[in-house]
């Protein structure tokens, strides 16, 4: 009886993993279970079951790349993310220069290090987002530039009313006594832009009628990033709202 119980473990293990497969792949789960039922040798059964458990837990995306290609193209995704990261960090550096053109030369090295560090962090955040976008679309820049362009526009439209309020309600900016807070609006623009990009693959899958719960861990990380961005943006906006409304003297 004990022997019978132990020989059933590979089947139970695989059956548990197969239960979590998305509906579109359930046929393949049943296929692996049926194949396991054919095997008699205990070692072979364990090897086959464990190998299949990996497939059941991480089944390939529909329309995605072959597994070996997926690994290979991570570097390409990193490169694309680094390019867009550089663009966005370049804008930030330019806005810092506009805000503080009289920066002492001694601070340049520190600024470069901060710039490099931010670029790396931003690239690491963008890499899975780019991977998600590329997994749904053919690998051409055009199909990456469209979501990036839409995200940039979304961010700009979202901050436009506040930028207008900041200028309209602040006579010191109008008179040229104070500079327009470019860095603040860059930060306010960046969060919704990244939010839009991170949410796009989820929206696409939902619109295509696919299950977004097929890969729970990447989804969890993505949702955590979205929540972080949304909370950060709302907090910053809430903090600066009195200044936009013009009711607080000496806003910083």
């Amino acid at each position: 009886m004990i022997t019978g119980f132990f020989t059933q473990i590979p089947e139970r293990l695989l059956a548990t993993a197969v239960r979590h497969m998305p509906a579109e792949r359930s046929e393949w789960g049943a296929a692996m279970l049926a194949e396991l039922a054919q095997l008699r040798h205990p070692v072979t059964r364990w090897q086959f079951a464990l190998s299949c458990v990996r497939v059941a837990l991480f089944p390939p995306h529909r329309g995605g790349l072959l597994m070996n290609e997926r690994r290979k193209y991570w570097f390409a995704n990193f490169g694309v993310a680094a390019f867009f990261g550089l663009l966005m960090m370049g804008i930030a550096a330019f806005l810092v220069f506009l805000d503080t053109p009289e920066t002492p030369p001694g601070k340049t090295l520190i600024s470069l290090l901060v710039f490099g560090g931010n670029w790396l962090i931003f690239t690491l955040i963008l890499t899975p987002i780019v991977s998600g976008l590329r997994a749904d679309e053919p690998v051409v820049m055009k199909h990456l530039l469209i979501p990036f362009g839409a995200a940039v526009l979304f961010g700009l439209l979202l901050i436009a009313p506040f930028a207008f309020m900041e200028y309209w309600n602040n006579p010191r900016i109008q008179s040229g006594e104070f500079r327009f807070p470019f860095m603040l609006f860059y930060a306010l623009w960046l969060s919704p832009t990244v939010f839009f990009l991170a949410a796009t693959p989820i929206v696409r899958r939902l619109r295509a009628g696919e299950s977004i719960l097929a890969h729970p861990l990447p989804l969890l990380l993505r949702v955590a990033l979205l929540a972080f961005l949304a909370i950060g943006w709302i907090t910053l906006l809430g903090d600066q709202m009195p200044c936009f409304l013009g009711g607080v003297p000496g806003c910083d």
Partner: protein, 108 residues
């Protein structure tokens, strides 16, 4: 959206194994044994091939007592075309390699 990228070595191995006898339906574990690939490598490739319309799948019609029906695989027309194309490329590459490795004869 499907993409045109060169298939991996493992994908080529599976395609060529299936192309050996294109009319016969094959089982997953038989393919594992023939190609010496682990199930964890082979099934995702089979899934992808089926997604791309290169692999035909069906279930066993005659179910023996005491075990579930097995999933069967064979190449579609498109799969067979791709396999023969890849097989030719592989043969040309192997021939070129043999020529490169052949020791030079005296005076040649």
């Amino acid at each position: 959206m499907q993409r045109n990228r060169p298939p991996s070595e493992q994908t080529i191995t599976i395609l060529l194994a299936l192309a050996e006898d294109p009319t016969t339906w094959r089982h997953g574990y038989d393919l594992c044994q023939q190609t010496e690939l682990k199930a964890g490598t082979m099934y995702p490739i089979l899934i992808r091939l089926a997604d791309r319309g290169l692999l035909e799948t069906t279930w066993e019609s005659e179910i023996p007592v005491g075990r579930p029906p097995r999933h069967l695989y064979r190449l579609t027309e498109a799969g067979l075309e791709l396999a023969s194309e890849l097989g030719e490329q592989k043969a040309i590459a192997a021939k070129a390699k043999r020529i490169r490795l052949r020791p030079r004869t005296e005076g040649a």
